[in-house]
């Protein structure tokens, strides 16, 4: 039995929307990073799904690349979060609004 492409897409869209909502709603940077991870992986699901559909490896290669990138981003994100936490002792991104207007 093959899973139809629409299923992949529905899953991935669901993940994407979840991720988006998370980014918009969450104030904890860790949860933000998690939500972002969700969005990136939504892309991965779609890529792999299409890769299956076309029977073409480049989609999967793409997904691997994305994983690397996601890892890099998370590393930096965590690093920055730690740095912020060190100077503020607070994990609320809404506090980070010294610049606006």
């Amino acid at each position: 039995m093959t899973v139809p492409i629409s299923a992949y897409l529905m899953l991935s869209v669901g993940l994407l929307v979840l991720g988006m909502l998370g980014v918009i709603r969450r104030r904890n940077p860790l949860l933000l990073l998690l939500s972002i991870e969700l969005m990136l992986n939504a892309g991965n699901v779609a890529l792999i799904g299409f890769s299956r559909q076309w029977n073409d490896p480049s989609g999967q290669i793409f997904a691997l690349v994305v994983m690397v990138v996601a890892a890099a981003e998370v590393v930096i994100g965590l690093g920055l979060t730690v740095a912020v936490f060190r100077s503020r002792m607070n994990l609320d991104v809404d506090e980070m609004s010294s610049m606006k207007g």
């Binding site: 988006m20 918009i24 969450r26 104030r27 809404d94 609004s97 010294s98 207007g101």
Partner: protein
């Protein structure tokens, strides 16, 4: 030859004026006199020589034109700086330089005590130049230039004593009124240019037929030109500036506001008779305006106390006669009266000038009396003038006014109306002039007497008055009914193309002589009864007809009406525009747009609230929007 001299005549006063104006430092008074009077004197002599020369030519050979250079070439062809010397313009030149010379001489003494002696002569010379330009111009354009320049000179001289607010206001009024006239003249010129294709006198007149006899165009041209004439010659409804113009020094009033400039309107009509006779209706309108003006002004003159204002209103009235004649087509009669008026009115003004000078700038009749005892020359000049203007048989206006009235009688129904008005006017003229004479020169000294006693003038002032007095007596004999017709003959070459020349019958002449002599004598008699026979009588009668007399005294309230109708609304409108419309409209456009943009900027700034969630939401919402836009476009395209 004649034209070369004419150019020199034209330029002499200008040179004189410029020399005086540009003289470094303060020139000695003798030098001022030499240049100021000398330039006019030479011009007069040259004019006389042209005159003599011209007499030697056959009447048909007395017209000369001369182009100095091509002044402009625009829209296809050109306009020259040209002059036209013919009997009509020469006659005007002689009046301007001749009377002008006398008045300049008079001024030499009259203005002696003024600190701006030099400026006075410079401006007077400028005036003479402008007036010469006006009458010598060979086309409408330079006529308009001269027309405006005399207005400028008049403005300057009315406002000669510029520290006086009243003089300044009077000058401005005169100027603006004259600009209104200029506008009429300019529009008239445009219409001539459009329909006849030329601004040159001779060509325009030669082709005046193309306007169409009694056509609307002809009517429009004539009335537009008449607007100019009315403004310059102080005819209703543009007459209100002239009485105020008496703020200027008396010689100015004599030269500009009596003898020459104000008669330019008459000159214009006579000069353009070829055009004016294309519209009978226009002529009749002009004649009626002249008639109404003469009567109105005469009645106003009755109530004036200021000696110069009496003369000013009398000028308005006398020009009314001329305009009336010109309108009716009695061109040479109009010119005849113009010449005579120049003599006697200049004489009257100068005589009044002696009085004013002697009384240290006192101009009110209430503070005069018995002056014949002190100022004999003035009395002579004033007496001659009064007799002349009243039309006492044998004096100037007896002949010229009769000429006008007789011609009117021969000029159809409108003419008859004009005649009636003219005769009534003659009666009132005699009355108010002799009122002036009797109140100023007869009777007892004024209350409180004179201190110091009026001092008689020296010859600078005396001689011109005497000469003009004599001219008032003998001038009229140049043209005598049933005798000879010097003026008609002289102007014949110019007026040769008049289509229906008015030729009063003997009956017309006799009827007119009878009535006008009666009117003159009646007026003098009444004046004597009122003012001379018993000086107290006028005080006893002071309560008679108060209402009408007040109306006359206020000059029928034209001034106030104009203020209410034109000046104040304009001023108000300007203020409203400046204070309300300007900030709301043109500037409001700016402030409004600025405000909108600034508000938008605030909104945008506020959306940038520093919260990363907002920014994330922005991206997501933007994405949704982008999807929608794209979908709509795609759906729309298919």
């Amino acid at each position: 030859m004649a034209t070369t001299l004419a150019w020199i005549i034209l330029l002499l006063p200008l040179l004189g004026g410029i020399t005086l104006a540009a003289w470094p430092g303060e020139p000695p008074r003798a030098t001022v006199r030499l240049i100021g009077i000398g330039s006019i004197a030479v011009a007069f002599v040259l004019a006389l020589s042209i005159f003599v020369n011209m007499l030697g030519n056959a009447p048909t050979d007395r017209t000369f034109t001369s182009n100095l250079y091509e002044w402009i070439s625009i829209g296809g062809t050109s306009l020259d700086l040209s002059i036209l010397v013919d009997p009509l313009s020469l006659m005007m030149v002689l009046i301007i330089t001749g009377v002008g010379l006398l008045i300049h001489v008079f001024s030499a003494e009259y203005m002696e005590h003024d600190r701006d002696y030099r400026r006075f002569f410079a401006e007077m010379n400028l005036f003479v130049f402008s007036m010469l330009l006006l009458v010598l111009a060979g086309n409408f354009f330079f006529l308009i230039v001269g027309w405006a320049f005399v207005g400028l000179a008049s403005y300057l001289l009315i406002g000669f004593w510029y520290e006086r607010p009243s003089a300044v206001a009077a000058a401005k009024k005169a100027f603006v009124m004259n600009v209104i006239g200029d506008v009429g003249l300019v529009l008239g010129a445009f219409l001539i240019m459009r329909t006849l294709g030329t601004l040159d006198y001779q060509q325009a007149f030669a082709h005046a037929d193309e306007l169409g006899q009694n056509s609307g165009t002809a009517l429009a041209v004539c009335l537009l030109l008449f607007v100019g004439a009315a403004a310059k010659s102080a005819q209703i409804p543009l007459h209100t500036w002239l009485p105020d113009a008496m703020e200027g020094p008396t010689p100015v009033s004599a030269l500009i506001h009596a003898a020459t400039m104000v008669t330019a309107g008459v000159y214009l009509i006579v000069r353009c008779h070829a055009i004016f006779q294309m519209s009978e209706l226009a002529g009749q309108i002009i004649a009626v305006i002249g008639a109404i003006t003469l009567l109105m002004a005469a009645t106003v003159a009755l109530q004036q106390v200021d000696i110069k204002r009496v003369l000013a209103w009398s000028t308005v009235s006398q020009i009314g006669y001329m305009i009336m004649a010109a309108g009716l087509g009695a061109y040479s009669a109009a010119m005849f009266h113009l010449l005579m008026h120049a003599f006697f009115k200049a004489g009257l003004f100068l005589a009044a000038g002696i009085v004013i000078h002697a009384l240290h700038d006192e101009q009110s009749l209430d503070h005069m009396g018995n002056l014949r005892k002190y100022l004999r020359v003035a009395y002579f000049g004033m007496g001659m003038g009064c007799l002349a203007i009243a039309g006492f048989p044998g004096f100037d206006a007896f002949f010229s006014k009769d000429d006008i009235l007789a011609s009117s009688l021969a000029a159809g129904p409108v003419g008859v109306f004009c005649w009636v008005v003219g005769v009534i006017g003659a009666f009132i003229t005699a009355l108010y002039m002799f009122r002036l004479l009797f109140r100023a020169f007869w009777g007892p000294d004024p209350k409180g007497g004179y201190s110091p006693a009026p001092h008689p003038s020296r010859w600078w002032m005396a001689a011109p008055v005497a000469i003009l007095g004599v001219l008032s007596l003998v001038g009229g004999w140049i043209q005598v009914p049933f005798g000879w017709s010097g003026i008609n003959d002289w102007l014949a070459p110019v007026l040769a193309d008049v289509r229906n020349p008015i030729e009063p019958s003997n009956a017309d002449e006799w009827i007119t002589i009878g009535f006008s002599t009666a009117a003159a004598l009646g007026g003098i008699a009444l004046a004597w009864w009122l003012f001379a026979a018993d000086p107290e009588r006028r005080i006893r009668l002071a309560n008679i007809a108060r209402g009408p007399r007040k109306v006359m005294g206020d000059a029928y309230d034209f001034d106030r009406a104009y203020d209410d109708l034109f000046v104040e609304p304009g001023r108000e409108l300007g203020t409203v525009l400046l204070d309300d419309v300007e900030p709301a409209g043109p500037k409001g456009l700016i402030t409004g747009t600025t405000a909108v943009i600034r508000d938008t900027a605030r909104v945008i700034s506020a959306s940038e609230n520093g919260l990363v969630r907002t920014y994330a939401f922005g991206i997501v919402a933007g994405l949704a929007l982008a999807g929608v836009v794209l979908a709509i476009v795609v759906a729309g395209a298919s």
